[in-house]
Symmetry: C2
Amino acid sequence: MDKPLIFITNDDGVNALGFRTLVETARRIGNVIAIAPETTQSGKAHAITMYSPLYLRQVRKEEGVEVYACSGTPVDCVKMAFDHLLADNYPDLTLSGINHGSNSAISVIYSGTMGAAIEASFYNRPSIGFSLDDHSEHADFSAASEYAEKIIRDTLAGVTDLPLCLNVNIPAVPYAEIKGIKICRQNRGFWKERFVCRQDPRGADYYWLTGEFFNSEPHSEDTDEWALKNGYISIVPIQTDLTNYPQMDKLAILAGDSGE
Amino acid sequence: MDKPLIFITNDDGVNALGFRTLVETARRIGNVIAIAPETTQSGKAHAITMYSPLYLRQVRKEEGVEVYACSGTPVDCVKMAFDHLLADNYPDLTLSGINHGSNSAISVIYSGTMGAAIEASFYNRPSIGFSLDDHSEHADFSAASEYAEKIIRDTLAGVTDLPLCLNVNIPAVPYAEIKGIKICRQNRGFWKERFVCRQDPRGADYYWLTGEFFNSEPHSEDTDEWALKNGYISIVPIQTDLTNYPQMDKLAILAGDSGE
């Protein structure tokens, strides 16, 4: 069988250790083409670039690996792949990450890593976003790489239900301490922000956004947040129908006077 | 009864006609405090600003209306309201828009207008995103304003089920031609992009992202896209648990060898 074609992107930028680790991991399985943002795009969610043009430059080309840098967001990188560079040769699988920092619970909605993974799944090819629960620049990705390889191989071999988008979060512990893999649901919780106010040299106030996550259900063992904090790798399958179906009937009053 | 406090933001920027229309509409109902982005933030989705500080400046203050401009994204504006400016006095309702251009179907996931509305709903206060199906700068918002006022009043008076986040899309036709309001589900479809390639003055290629929406279910009359294209205002209640529950059982293979 031909080697699979694996497309890779991320949100920490083309030079991030987690991205380079994922490229090397995927090389062991297939041919890799990657487009990553030139600079950090953390927190860029599902943003696309509408009011400036995009540049694309090749930064690496060798047997089985091509890497490009794009001036846009993670979702731009995915569109650049599927609608331009690989438009005639869709990849068999898209990977995003490995992110420096977790994307469990509601963080999925702010995450550029997951924005890219979600976007790729719209093209009816499987996608996986990987995140390590360690924000540091020089985090240890060795266990994450081993588990990512297993999850990639198992997905390519055995998962046929499309669309498929997986949110994988990996605890920042040595390989031997990872207790296993759990299929989870998204934890409920929220970010409470605090703005740090400073004065610029001209005397004007400016603010840094800084937040803290509050887990609304810390004891729910079926959630990604619980799994991650208890030594398991969490996998949440993702969908993008945001309709609140149970709420629809309760809103009849809003359609009331209009003949609905 | 005291006048309600209404917070307003948008993604087209503080000078957009749709935003100014919504401020004037909301003034007829309550006291208004608004924080809108300094510049256009279309397509910014749920992005937050992590690597640059935010500035906030007051641009208008008169009886019952205060308007600020923020250097960040629509979601930053919401956080700036709930975690800074209005931290001790949460608004009764958040409005986002009125967007120049529709945000039906999967566009909800790319939309800065809806990113802001969704974020506001995390603070356990109702929120409504309004979008008019007309991208033009000088679009006619008169019918949108009348219907927005009705929906705002009905929501304040009669909807008590929280969290509540509504995605409201309004057809760009005169008031008399709007057939009514429909409570809908999110249409299934996708954006197919085309990159327009040009050369900059230095000879380097650059790309403009330009896309077209494909409706995967054009005849489904219960969707927002159908309602909007057939003269109705669509209202989709929004939730943010992205878990694909039906798919969880099919992924057991991925947890297989790990003692799960």
